[in-house]
Every structure is written in C-alpha cells, then in structure tokens.
C-alpha cells in the first residue's frame, strides 16, 4: 500500500540530514568556548557542510516518480518507524520535489549564515548552536510526513528564532518586543492548525483508524484508497460532525466544515508566510534580528509557510482552495502592494520620524512581504478552478523557484545591510551617501543582489516571477495585472535605497571605510553565484519541482 513512500533499506539519509545539525548544536553548546569561540565557529561550519553534501547527494540521486496514475507523487528516501502507538503516529520522513529545493536551500544557507556569524562576539557558541537547531527544525518541517512530527519541527523552529532575536538582536528594548511578537504571534496562529488536525484524527478514528499521516490524509481528500479508512475526507468530517450532533445545531454541509478547518489551517500558514494582514510580526522580527538570523529567517523560515500550503492545504482542501482562490489572490495582492508601498515609503521619505521607519532592514523586510505575496499568489492560482493543468503546475514551479531565489537574494541583501551597519554603526538610510566612491565592490555586489531580488532577467529572481505570472495569469488575471504594479513599486523602492546609500554626495563621516572583506566575499560569493547560475540555467531545479507540481495539480483536476 505504501508504494508512495520509497523506503531506504540502508542509510537513513533524511534522519542523518535532520539530526546532524542537532548533534552539532549540542556539541557547540556544551564545549567550552576558547578564544572568541573560534573552535565552535569553524567546527559548526565544517559540520554544516555535511548536510549540504548529503542534500546535494540526495538531489543528484533523486528520481521522483508517481503512483496511482500519476496522481500521487512518490516520496523518496522514506523512513517509517512506529512512534506513538496509541495515537497511531509514525516517525515518517520522505523527500519529494517540493521539499528537495527547500532542503537544498536550507542546507546551503546554514553554512553561509554560520560564516556570516563569525563576527558574533557575545557567546558565539550558543548563537551557533541556535543556528544549527534552526536548521534541524526547518529540515524537519520539510521532510516530515506525519503531522505530529511535522508540528514538532514547525514549532521548534520558533525557539532558536526567538532567542536569536531577543538575545543577539539590535536595540535591547525593541528586539525583545520583536522576539516576543514573533513567537506569540506565530504560536497563536498554529493553534488553529493543531485543532484542525486533531479533528481530522478524530474523524478518521470514528471511521475506523485515526491517522496523523499527512500522505494518508491527502489521499483521503483526493479519494485515493487508504487502508483501513473508507470514504472521502470531507465526508468523514461531515459524518463525524453528524455523530457529534454538531450538524443538528449548526447545520451546514461537508463543505462548510471543511471550510472551517481550511480557515484554521490557512491562518496558521498565512501567519508564518506573513501574508497581509497577518504580516505585522515580520518587519519587527527581521529588522531586529542579528544578520545571520535575518538571513535564515527571511531566507528559509518564512518559506515554511508556503511549503506547508503546498504540502497540506492544496492537497487536503482542493475544493476549498478552488472556492477561496479569488480571496486568497486578494490577500496575495495586498501583501504585494502593501509590502512594496511601505518599502517604497521607507526609501522615499527621509527623516520622516525618528526611529524605525527609514531603516534599511525594515525596507528589505517589507520587500520580503512583497515577494512572499507572489508566492501566495501562485499558490492561490494553483488552487483556482480555471486554467489547465500545466498552467497551474507552472505556477507552483514558479512559487518553488521564487522561494529558492528569494531565499538567496534576500539573505544576500540582509547580509550586506548588516555589513554596512557593522562598518557605520547605523541602519539609517539617511546616514549614508556616496558609498559607491568609497567601497565600489561593495556597491556592485549590492547591486547584483538587489537586481536579483527585484527580478531582473538573467538572475534567478526573474525566473520565479516569470513563471508565477505566467501561471497565475489565466486563473487570477485581475490580481495578476494589479500585482504587476507591485513589481514597479518594489523596483522603485530598491533603486531609491541603492541611490540613498551609494550615490549622491559622499558622506564625510564614512570616508575611509574598508571595502568588502574576505569573509564577506566568502558569504556573498556562493549566494550571488547561485543567483546567476539559476537565473541563466534554472532547469535542474525546475525539473525536480515540476514533476511534483504536476502530481499536486493532478489532484485538483482529478485526472
């Protein structure tokens, strides 16, 4: 029956992938800190290369594949162990085309973030341990196929985020507030998802065998056969509601209850993805986080939301997605416009108010919201009714690509902003000017990252955005057209930012700043190189994602 999980008989690669960083984290935390934690720094860096190696190996040997007439993607390198017998929860991992690019991104970003944290002076061993812990959590989310397991990693990812922000962030008072908001906000959001899955469990339990298996739940939702449980997920939910007597009180249909559950899960994921209007935690968190943490959180952590939409929402609630696509498109559009507009204003209006408003990192954060809006738009389009199979698959491909590219470019931008602040001690846009003259290479690299971010053709960002718009056009034409505006505004925002920092009269205080250092090179080089490589030749990544995307989409069409 479990043909969709291709179990590895031999090496548990995925477990290794997940737990190697955890081991590293423990080692880093418990070993004594030598001279400014050099041992830990190099050690964790070296160790973080191992998951990268494994990820590359997995990518290279990944074969894909589908069953059930192509409607069910096969998870490769699967592992399945009995875990919680009473609740029938399993330790179940698997890799598919959607998770593989994100796994690659995570394992890639981690060593880079570690490199970026070489200049952390306060208790570097804990800092590094938290970075590695975060990697574990994120990989776990991408690879888990059982809801409880998934949820554990999902929530655990908050812990390192919280401590990184609250203990190593910028201004003492604001960073605490930001961390607090980040944590409570996302945690409160998850409650709905938890309740929803508990409900699925209860419903399937009433139908024979309770399950937390994500794949089984998606199969049930698709009407694919699952051992021991009869019927369609929506019907099971409705039947259970009837059994409880809720239907007598509230009335409604299967669709109604599935809609409620959909809503609960959507809120959880939207908070994580920072979709308007659930985005308010994000600018605070990003802006206050220390640079390496910003890189990881912006680069990977928020992608968990989009990933979960692809993994949970699309397959489990096809009907609801279809109905809500337009509204979701609206949310996406609002994210795009609001993100871009706020960013633009930050760049445009100098001295507007003392404090946070004209802050480089806030600007980049709002642009993140904007970019995640595209991903959201793509997902909404993939769920929409109109449009043929391929267009929707293209939208998903675009989303995956966008996530990957945005992860690279935004973390490059954050890193550059951090380096800048390190030199000048300020994130204020107005504190700079004419830096191009003083640090030309720095300016050039910032330019590349910036253009990749705003989606200049030839850079990876473009590929993602192109596929997204290509995919969303038929289904959500209105929002696609309106969202194009966002492209313009965000481009303006970035360009203005570039101008304020690098052009104009040279700020005398900045004279004599060093140009880019070797360490900064080592961080930026892989990021920018990959942005260019995938901008020019996105095929390997696309191929991986495509097959899964098609399978996901086939669910909807029932083909």
């Amino acid at each position: 029956m479990e043909t969709y999980l291709n179990q590895t008989g031999g090496v548990p690669w995925l477990s290794l992938l997940i737990f190697l960083p955890l081991i590293g984290a423990v080692l880093a935390a418990i070993t004594s800190e030598g001279r400014d934690g050099r041992v830990q720094k190099w050690g964790t860096f070296a160790l973080s290369l191992a998951p990268l190696g494994i990820a590359i190996f997995l990518a290279a040997t990944y074969t894909g594949g589908t069953t059930d007439d192509g409607r069910q993607q096969v998870y490769q390198f699967g592992e399945r162990l009995q875990w919680i017998t009473v609740l029938n929860a399993w330790y179940m991992l698997g890799l598919d085309g959607i998770s593989l690019p994100l796994v690659l991104l995570t394992t890639l970003m981690t060593p880079i973030a570690i490199l970026a944290s070489f200049n952390v002076r306060e208790l570097p061993r804990y800092f590094l341990a938290l970075i590695l812990l975060m990697e574990t959590a994120m990989l776990g989310v991408f690879l888990a196929l059982d809801f409880i397991l998934f949820f554990i990693f999902w929530e655990v990812s908050l812990i390192p985020g919280f401590f990184l922000i609250s203990s190593w962030g910028r201004a003492v008072e604001r960073r605490r507030y930001a961390a607090f908001k980040f944590f409570v906000y996302t945690m409160a959001g998850s409650v709905g998802m938890l309740l929803a899955f508990e409900f699925f469990y209860l419903a399937t339990r009433a139908a024979g065998r309770g399950t937390f298996d994500i794949v089984e739940l998606t199969r049930l939702a698709q009407g694919l056969p699952v051992q021991g449980i009869q019927g369609d997920l929506g019907q099971l939910v409705f039947a259970y509601m009837q059994q409880l007597g809720v239907v007598n009180v509230l009335g409604g249909s299967a669709n109604f209850y599935m809609g409620a559950l959909f809503l609960a899960i959507f809120v959880a994921l939207a908070v994580k993805l920072a979709v308007w209007p659930f985005h308010t935690w994000l600018p605070d968190a990003y802006a206050e986080a220390p640079t390496p943490a910003s890189m990881l959180i912006a680069g990977v952590l928020t992608k968990m939301g989009a990933f979960a939409m692809l993994r949970l929402m699309l397959p489990i609630f096809p009907e609801q997605m279809r109905q809500a696509a337009f509204v979701l498109g609206f949310f996406a559009f609002m994210s795009i416009i609001v993100g871009a507009w706020v960013a633009y204003n930050i760049a445009r209006v100098p001295f507007r108010r003392e404090g946070k408003l004209n802050d480089v990192k806030r600007l980049i954060s709002y642009l993140s919201i904007n970019h995640m809006g595209y991903v959201m738009l793509a997902i909404a389009a993939a769920g929409a009714e109109t449009g043929d199979l391929n267009t929707r698959a293209i939208a998903i491909n675009g989303a995956v690509m966008q996530m990957f590219a945005h992860g690279l470019s935004t973390s490059a931008l954050f890193f550059l902003a951090g380096s800048l602040a390190e030199r000048t001690g300020s994130y204020e846009l107005t504190a700079f000017g004419g830096l191009r003259m003083i640090a030309p290479i720095f300016a050039a690299l910032t330019g590349i990252a910036m253009f990749a971010n705003l989606g200049l053709p030839g850079l990876a960002g473009f590929v993602g955005e192109f596929f997204i718009f290509r995919g969303t056009w038929p289904a959500l034409t209105l929002w696609t057209i309106l969202s194009m505006l966002g492209l313009v505004i965000s481009a303006l925002a970035l360009l203005l930012m570039f101008q304020r920092i690098f052009s104009g009269p040279v700020n005398e205080r900045l004279r004599g700043l060093p140009d880019i250092s070797l360490r900064e090179w080592s961080v930026l080089l892989p990021l920018l190189a990959l942005l260019i490589v995938f901008g020019v030749y996105p095929l390997p990544l696309m191929q991986i994602a495509n097959e899964t995307a098609l399978a996901v989409v086939r669910f909807f069409s029932g083909a």
């Binding site: 990693f153 929530e155 469990y201 009180v249």
Partner: protein
C-alpha cells in the same frame, strides 16, 4: 512496558516496599543525631533512589495486556467495617509512581541546602512521600483516604517552618482548603459505603457491584467526591490556596506539591469519583468543564499579571492543572489519557520550575520580584537552560512532554465540548506570553544587580536533579510511547464504564442541566 517478563521478578509486595522504604528512611533519620546533616541527606537521597528504582522496576514489569491491576496485595485491616489493606497498580498508578519517584529523588537532592532543622525537614518530607506513594496504589477507599491525609498534613509544617513569604498564612490556608476537600471526600466515602449496601471500601467491589449506584445517588454524591479531590487539584474556584501555598513553600516542597501532590487530587477525581460513579460524572461533566475552562484561561491570565516569580509559576500550575481536570471531565478515552499524561508532564516540568526558581534563583538572590532580577542567564546559564526547557514544555512546545499531553487533552475535549476546546485554546498563547516574559525579565538583558556575580555557583546536586528532570521533559515529549500505551490500557476500562453510563443516562435524562446543546455534543467517545 513489560520489558521484564512475568515470572522474572520474584513475587514480592513491591508496592508496600515502595512506600515502606520511605517510611523506613523517615524512621532511620528520626534516630540519627540532628548534627549528622550529611548522613541525613544521604539517607533521604538513598531511600528516595531505592523507591525510584522499585517503581521503575514495577514500571518495567507491568504488562499492559494483562489484568488492569497488577502487583495486588490484599490483607484484612478492619474487617468489621469492610476496610482492607488493598494495594494494586494499573498503568495510571505506575505512571504516577514513577513520576513521584523522580520528583522525590530530585527533591531530596534539591533539599541538600536545608541547614535549619535538617532532620525534622527530611522526616516530614519522607512522611509526605509515604502518603503520596500510598494514594497512588491504594485500592481501598479508606486506605486511599488515610494515605491522602498523610500526604496533606506534613505540608503544613514543611511550609510553616521552612517556607518564606507569609509562610504561616500560606500554610494555614493550604491546609484548611485541603481539609475542606477532605470533608467532602469523607461525605462521599460514607455515601458510597452505605449507598452500595456492600459495607465495604474495596473500590473494585464498589465499582463492579450490580446493579450499581442509582442515577439519583450518583447525581447527589458524585460532586462531593469529585470536588473534594478537585480542590487539591486546584479547581476553580477553590484554587486560591495553591499560589499562596507554592509561594510560601520551601523549594523541594513546592516541587513535590505542584509536582505530585496536586496530582493526588486529579488522581482521586479519576479513581474515586469518576470510576465509581460514572453516571454522576456524565451528569456533571458540563458544569465541571465550565469551571475548568475558567481555571485554564483565568489562571493563565492571572499568571500574566504577576510580578513575583513564584506566583507566576503558581498560577501557571493552576492553569495547567485546570487542563488536567478538563481532560478528566471530558470523559473520553483521549481526554483522560491526556489528563494522565498532563499529570506526568506537569509534574516533571513544574518540579523543574520550582527547582530553578526556588533553589537556584531565590535561595541565592533572595528576591523573586521580576523587576529586581535580570540577566541571570549570564550568571547561571545552566539554570536558564533548564528553565527554558521547562518553560517550553509549559507553553506546550511540540517535542516536550507538555505538548503531547495538551495535544491529547485538547483533542479529547474537542471531541465532546468543541466550544470549550476552542475557548481554552486562548490560554495557549497567553501561556507562551507569560513564560516568555518571565524568561526575558529574569534571564536576559543586563545583569540587574552586580552582586549577582558573586553568588555561589550551582552545586552538583542541583545540576543533577535539573538534568534528570529536563531529560524527562524532553524524553516524554519525544517518546510518549514510554508511558502512553500503559496508561491507555488502564484508561480503557474506565471509559467503557463511562460510555455505558452515557447510554443509561440517555434513557434516564440528565437532571443537572438537561441537554446543553451549545456546550456539549452528543457523540464523541
């Protein structure tokens, strides 16, 4: 777990040994000279360790597929009144035994710094534990009650003598509240004794006799019994003793109290009230669950407003124990499982909390006011680490024991009182908020007081107990299978009775509130 197959263990009265060894310890200490403080401490630690090992042994040898109650010991005590010395353990008791074993062992270690009247302290502590162990394994209601009282009373002296901050008030309030509870319990016991016509306190007989208690009887006497125990579990509105008591109590006592003693209440609710009077439970469930909802949300909310470190933890206990009772009151298999799991989880994590707050922080800094603390993570990184682990469990972070338990409770409550589950969900972010606030104020930021740097380092006893408890928090969160199947197998018969009672009640009708459609749903087992 049944890792030790039947027949491998010699047939001995293990359950008696478990509490007996503690009593023996108390007696030995009573005969040691008061000046031999280290000998006293070691004695206490060693006997606690022996009892821990014994309870682990029982845990390993328990066969979930065997009869519900194993390791049964039965002897006449007062046959004229149907009172017997009747011990037996099911999965729930064993989970509690092991929990208690760990908490008292670590509590012994944590009490190492008691210099004032060491001997009396340990004697009382061990007597208290005798009572706690006894309750968990008693199958005779009278014996149950005797042990119960034995566990409650030493608290008075322990808090009153070795406590801090309005200790006499706290001790008195606690004792009187719990005694009010006992009064209810006595009424319930007598009712059961005469109501059954059996003239016996044997709980198994009382549970299984035919035709069983009438619905009217259960309607009248379920509540006294339940509330009597629930007071100890800190049920709203009888919870106010708990924060004051916790604040006043010395560390190890807080650990034991919040960690184990409050569970006695919940355990009693399950064993004496729900098990014996399932129909009564079904009738009163909506009322109880509404009260516990207040517990959970109000407790969390009040915890948020506290400035005293221990008060935060105290109110958080109220909130978490509210979840336990809520799980019990939802009366289905998942929720009761969850309640038992939460007892264990909360026991471990709250013991950890108090070990950190009371022993590692308060005993050194002599202040528990949040604004006066700060930056302690730099001074005591290990304490901060432990507290964070506990805090994560408390806020229900997945991967910790607290999450798994709450997960079950919410799922169970969801299946029967969806509205309550949703409303109680509010407490989750509130909990996260106050725990994070405490972590931030106490452990992070600038070191508020330079004299903190001169405080003594953590001792090995503190570290050991901290590590043990923190490990348990994580271990139980990641491998709930360690205890869950065992608990599940023992909850099943209770739930069977409850379901049957629900069937009966459907024909009789619920005299309490009639049908309560908004709150309770019909299905959901």
């Amino acid at each position: 777990m049944n890792l030790i197959p039947a027949g491998m263990l010699p047939n001995l009265p293990y359950l008696t040994f478990i509490w007996g060894v503690m009593l023996l310890g108390a007696i030995i200490i009573a005969f040691l000279p008061a000046s031999a403080k280290n000998a006293i401490r070691w004695t206490s630690t060693v006997v606690s360790f022996i009892s821990l090992v014994l309870s682990l042994l029982v845990y390993l040898a328990y066969d979930p597929n065997g009869p519900t109650f194993q390791f049964v010991e039965q002897a006449n005590w007062v046959p004229a009144f149907g009172i017997s010395y009747f011990l037996g353990a099911d999965g729930i008791s064993i989970a509690m035994l092991v929990l208690n074993g760990f908490v008292i062992f670590t509590g012994s270690l944590i009490s190492w710094n008691i210099e004032n009247r060491t001997k009396e302290y340990f004697v009382l502590l061990l007597i208290l534990v005798v009572g706690v162990y006894g309750v968990f394994v008693s199958l005779d209601l009278f014996l149950f009650f005797v042990f119960y009282e034995l566990a409650v009373l030493p608290m008075y002296l322990l808090i009153g003598i070795w406590g801090s901050t309005r200790k006499e008030y706290g001790a008195m309030k606690l004792t009187l509240y719990l005694m009010v509870g006992s009064a209810f319990i006595i009424v319930g016991m007598l009712a059961v004794y005469f109501g059954s016509g059996l003239r016996t306190f044997n709980m198994i007989d009382l549970a299984n006799f035919r035709p069983g208690f009438t619905a009217r009887f259960q309607y009248a006497f379920f509540m006294p019994m339940f509330v009597g125990f629930a007071i100890l579990a800190g049920m709203f509105p009888f919870h106010t003793w708990s924060p004051t008591g916790h604040v006043a109590a010395p560390t190890a006592v807080s650990m034991l109290h919040a960690g184990v003693l409050m569970k006695l209440g919940a355990f009693g609710c399950l064993r004496a009230a729900i098990w014996l009077m399932p129909e009564g439970a079904q009738m009163w469930a909506p009322v109880i669950i509404t009260l516990t909802l207040l517990n959970v949300v109000y407790g969390a909310y009040i915890a948020m407003a506290q400035r005293d470190f221990k008060y935060v933890i105290g109110y958080s206990s109220v909130s978490h124990m509210g979840l336990v009772v809520m799980g019990l009151a939802a009366l289905n298999s998942i929720s009761i499982n969850g309640a038992v799991l939460q007892m264990v989880a909360h026991g471990v994590m709250t013991a950890l909390f108090f070990a950190v707050v009371g022993r590692m922080i308060y005993d050194r800094t002599h202040t528990r006011q949040l604004p006066e603390l700060g930056g302690l993570a730099q001074v005591f990184p290990f304490a901060a680490f432990l507290f964070i682990i506990g805090g994560l469990s408390s806020m229900g972070m997945p991967g910790t024991a607290g999450f798994y338990a709450e997960f079950n409770i919410f799922m169970g409550v969801w299946a029967r009182f969806p509205l309550v589950a949703i409303l109680a969900g509010i407490a989750i972010p509130i909990t996260a908020a106050y725990i994070l606030r405490v972590i931030r104020q106490v452990f992070f930021g600038e070191v508020r007081n330079p004299h903190f740097w001169e405080l003594p380092k953590l001792t090995w006893q503190e570290k050991t107990s901290g590590v043990i408890l923190a490990t348990l928090v994580i271990l139980l969160g990641i491998f709930p299978d360690l205890i869950h199947p065992m608990i599940d197998s023992s909850v099943a018969p209770v739930v069977q009775r409850l379901d049957a009672a629900r069937q009966t009640l459907a024909t009789v009708g619920n005299p309490v509130l009639g049908e309560f459609p908004g709150l309770e749903v019909q299905g959901g087992q």
